[in-house]
């Protein structure tokens, strides 16, 4: 699906620019896009280096294990195939709480760390496991208690009550997250192989990768 969307975006852009008679748009936009991609990644470097350092301390001190044991059962139903007390659960939980508190720059490194732990459990290293898909679903919907950026912008434009959108946002984000979790569960039940199956044979994994749902 990503392959098709990617190609579709490029071709639609090419087609519309050509029809408009301004084909230079494509060249300009392509290089601007490339630059944005690199700039965003460079911005991620400082954040990732710092948080992965802090998280190594949390890991080596046994804090992550403790969080997994303490709070793991709360979200266990979302990740049925992550083993009990696995450190992956600790990172998933830190990612979820960082999202909840609107700590964007901490949520991403924790989410990536959780993905790395889930990749350790993943039998097929190029295909997403069901647990990874669930983590993604939660993160794309991203339950947030306070949309800090939005409140700041509203304040900037002299809103009489900048925080009045907290309630509506919370309700909308809860509905979106519920939809994400339900859709994820539906696809998981419908097309996921039983989680207990050992590493898949090479031929079947290439067949799966060739189906065109790559990221």
């Amino acid at each position: 699906m990503v392959n098709k969307i990617w190609l579709g975006l490029l071709l639609a852009g090419f087609g519309f620019a050509a029809a408009k008679g301004d084909i230079n748009l494509v060249t300009k936009a392509a290089f601007e896009g490339a630059q944005t991609g690199v700039t965003v990644c460079f911005g991620l470097i400082s954040v990732l280096v710092f948080w992965l350092g802090i998280m190594r301390l949390a890991e080596n001190s046994g804090l992550v294990d403790r969080i997994s044991r303490l709070l793991g059962p709360v979200v266990k139903f979302l990740f049925p195939d992550v083993p009990k007390n696995d450190p992956a659960m600790g990172y998933i939980l830190s990612n979820m709480s960082a999202n909840l508190l609107g700590l964007g720059n901490a949520a991403t490194p924790m989410g990536i760390r959780a993905m790395q732990e889930l990749q350790r459990l993943n039998p097929d290293k190029t295909t997403a496991s069901p647990a990874m898909c669930t983590l993604l679903a939660i993160n794309t919907a991203s339950i947030t208690l306070i949309p800090t950026t939005l409140i700041a912008i509203r304040l900037n434009y002299h809103s009489a009550n900048p925080a009045e959108i907290v309630g509506s946002t919370l309700l909308a984000t809860a509905i979106a997250t519920l939809a994400a979790v339900l859709a994820d569960r539906w696809y998981r039940v419908r097309q996921a192989p039983p989680p207990a199956i050992p590493p898949s044979v090479p031929s079947s994994s290439t067949a799966a990768a060739g189906r065109g749902d790559g990221a």
Binding site: A17, V38, L57, A58, A106, Q119, R154
Partner: protein, 175 residues
Amino acid sequence: MNWIHTISAWAIPVMIAFIPLYAYFKKVPVYESFVDGAKDGFSTAIGIIPHLVGMMVAISVFRASGAMDFLVDLAAPAVRWLHIPPEVLPLGFLRPLTGTGSLAFTTELIKTYGPDSMIGRIASTIQGSTDTTLYVLTVYFGAVGIRNGRYALKVGLFSDMVGFFAAIFVCLLLF
């Protein structure tokens, strides 16, 4: 809602102080461990570059060419029929594609129509209620080298759509 603000403000400073202190009491060599873990951050961020550049190029070309405006025009009659202000429609297409793009558009709407107008409220709620699906997908899968994301994209886009309509109807009901 003040207590939530307070928690948000304190959360990161407390983590920065508490985690190293806890590790120190557990006899972890704190500085060495920090540096050791931090090393992975650089390569992880660099590894995401090809994924993100690929995605950003496609989105940028799509937006600049006017293909998106065409989509918006196409959907506008249906939206009017549902009594949704058509001004917020581009946000529905922008939100899953680009975080900075949709934030800029939201800011523009707030500036034009005022933060306390219905359009301003709806735009704020849409922007705040979901994350940028394509970005999250690209970064998380890119960081661990997943090529086949299976149904994750469909789920993300579906929840964006639900979030978009939920935001509008919640605002229409609430305000």
